[in-house]
Symmetry: C2
């Protein structure tokens, strides 16, 4: 039998191991079809913990096709508090206007490029990424306009017979809506990791911990991984 | 003194070590301004030889800022004769219509993304890449339309204060014109490597060797690295 072009509606999900990518995977799983998960290690401080979350999420959704890609050159390039120990990760109180020090220059283009190359080879037609436009003030590559431009690059830069669409199902949601949607879909929040700083217990006061705490509180959902108690917060 | 935003007209050149990237570096050098060179290892068969060419070219142009980025996950993803020993590299006679087996899926987006992340950190305003539209039948990510779309992604996906333009000065040239331009600029062709197959002596009959041979012959320039004699060819 001739080898047919795979077009089974296979979906690749970019999974960091955080809350947003967990809910993105839950959305993809709910749609049915085959899932393939990719995790990217870019030399971030909490990579070991994020990778463990990725593996647990892939097991949870019984995903066979997995790719772990190493882009540690991003840490060598530097310029971000997530990869450079010389740049401080700000607390919520220290947050300033504009692009955040935790911005990794042009990171999402690397992530999407990896998923697109893989999609061409395994015959996936859809790529899901958990970017959120609410974050866009801090991260220019989380905007709808960025994503539309990236889809044009994907259309022009791949084989003519390839049909790959990059979609961000959470892009217009608030963090609270993301928690609610995840809870509805039975997303395994207990397997995720959000803290920018630590790998054992969430620090509780980096921006990522704070956004997570507020989102669960506002959604009325109990967070199965509670960080250490932060002064004045339950 | 306050740290000023670097805007000295610094240019990053993507240098594989082949003929096209050598001429691209020569063009950047002729324009003046500071140069920074980046080489990407994607697990291709002739990587050791290409890396040596990169280093010699960087020495030739006395470039201090160098980046070597490892994207060997592209070899793990596979799908190309350049990275997968199970896929044969065709000879010229075996060349078929359409996208070539040596196409590495979506490769140029990875290369450009690396240069853009680095440009944001070192304050470069220009990125030069040696893609050639003549190759576009075989490689979708060598077209002007692809490059225009990629520049839109760069504009939207980086910090608002960042001005980075990706330019392909050879895009409209034939291989013969590239050799002529390089010869005019004193490009060190003796340091370059083009063969897809081997690292000691060019095989002489892969597509890359053949295109190089024809280009030097038509340009009336002697190639300082001559491959083994191929039947019926001088």
């Amino acid at each position: 039998m001739a080898k047919e072009k795979k077009d089974s509606g296979k979906t690749i999900v970019l999974v960091s191991g955080g809350m947003d990518s967990c809910v993105t995977a839950a959305i993809a799983a709910a749609r049915g079809g085959e899932l393939a998960l990719v995790h990217v290690n870019y030399g971030q401080r909490t990579e070991a913990r994020e990778l463990a979350s990725f593996k647990r999420l892939a097991d949870f959704y019984a995903v066979k096709e997995r790719l772990i890609a190493d882009v540690r050159y991003l840490a060598a390039i530097g310029g971000s508090a997530l990869t450079d120990a010389g740049i401080k990760i700000p607390t919520v109180a220290e947050r300033t206007e504009g692009v955040q020090p935790t911005y990794v220059p042009f990171r999402n283009t690397h992530l999407i490029a990896i998923a697109v190359s893989w999609a061409e080879v395994i015959g996936a037609t859809k790529i899901l990424i958990g970017i959120v436009e609410e974050d866009a003030a801090g991260y220019p590559d989380c905007r709808r306009s960025y994503l539309a431009a990236m889809n044009e690059v994907v259309r022009l830069g791949t084989r003519p017979e390839t049909e790959i669409e990059v979609e961000a199902p959470l892009v217009g949601m608030t963090k609270t809506e993301i928690v609610r949607r995840g809870a509805e879909l039975g997303a395994p929040f207990e397997l995720t990791w959000s803290c920018y700083r630590q790998e054992e217990v969430p620090c509780g006061d980096c921006l990522s911990c704070e956004l997570r705490r507020k989102a669960f509180a506002e959604a009325g959902v109990e967070d199965p991984i509670r960080g250490k108690k932060v002064k004045g917060k339950k």
